[in-house]
Symmetry: C2
Subunit: 97 residues, 2 copies
Amino acid sequence: MTKPKGLEALETADAVFAALAHPARRQILLSVHYRGTANAGEIARRFECSWPTTSRHLATLVTSGLLNVSRQGRTRVYSTNADLLRGLLAQWSEYFE
Amino acid sequence: MTKPKGLEALETADAVFAALAHPARRQILLSVHYRGTANAGEIARRFECSWPTTSRHLATLVTSGLLNVSRQGRTRVYSTNADLLRGLLAQWSEYFE
DNA sequence: CCCTCATTTAGCGTTCTTGCTAATTAACTC
DNA sequence: GAGTTAATTAGCAAGAACGCTAAATGAGGG
């Protein structure tokens, strides 16, 4: 990690904005953040679309950096990377303040 | 406009997030905001992609509410609707504060 | 009017996204 | 190991997004 924080944010902004573009992913993100943590099954059951579809949304969110995931036995526990989102929101708030 | 401000924001969030998903549109948005106002030609010349492509990005931004447009003779003048974006950013900042 | 300049609309091919079902991997339990 | 549960990966069809070029619109100037 030799790059400055701001530059990194710019580079990841693309993935983050793309991840936020889908309503289901925003809902998942808010849901996980509200609950603190959640495993894939809890999330999948809560949403209308099929489990694999939810699974892909989760993968997109993880790739973007908005979600962290860790394996606990055969379940995977997701939590939000609130700092990343807060950073991006703060950056854009500055642009438009 | 009988709806409360918050509800409206939720309804338009979809279009706004979708509009922000494309890097060219984010760049256009920042560019217009930085300049204050800009007409389509100024914007199109500044970007690599073709004028019609830029024109469609502009239309997307206008539809989302992020850009305002007004005709001045044969040019169209764009400006940012900073309030809309600020409102959405503030809303999401609250969610993740 | 005709010409030009500013911009959009039409139309098309390519690529990306999203949804599904079916098959697969991985871990725990007996 | 056989079975069960958790979750992903594979593969495909439908639709949307994005880029382009060419054609159309619309306003202003001679």
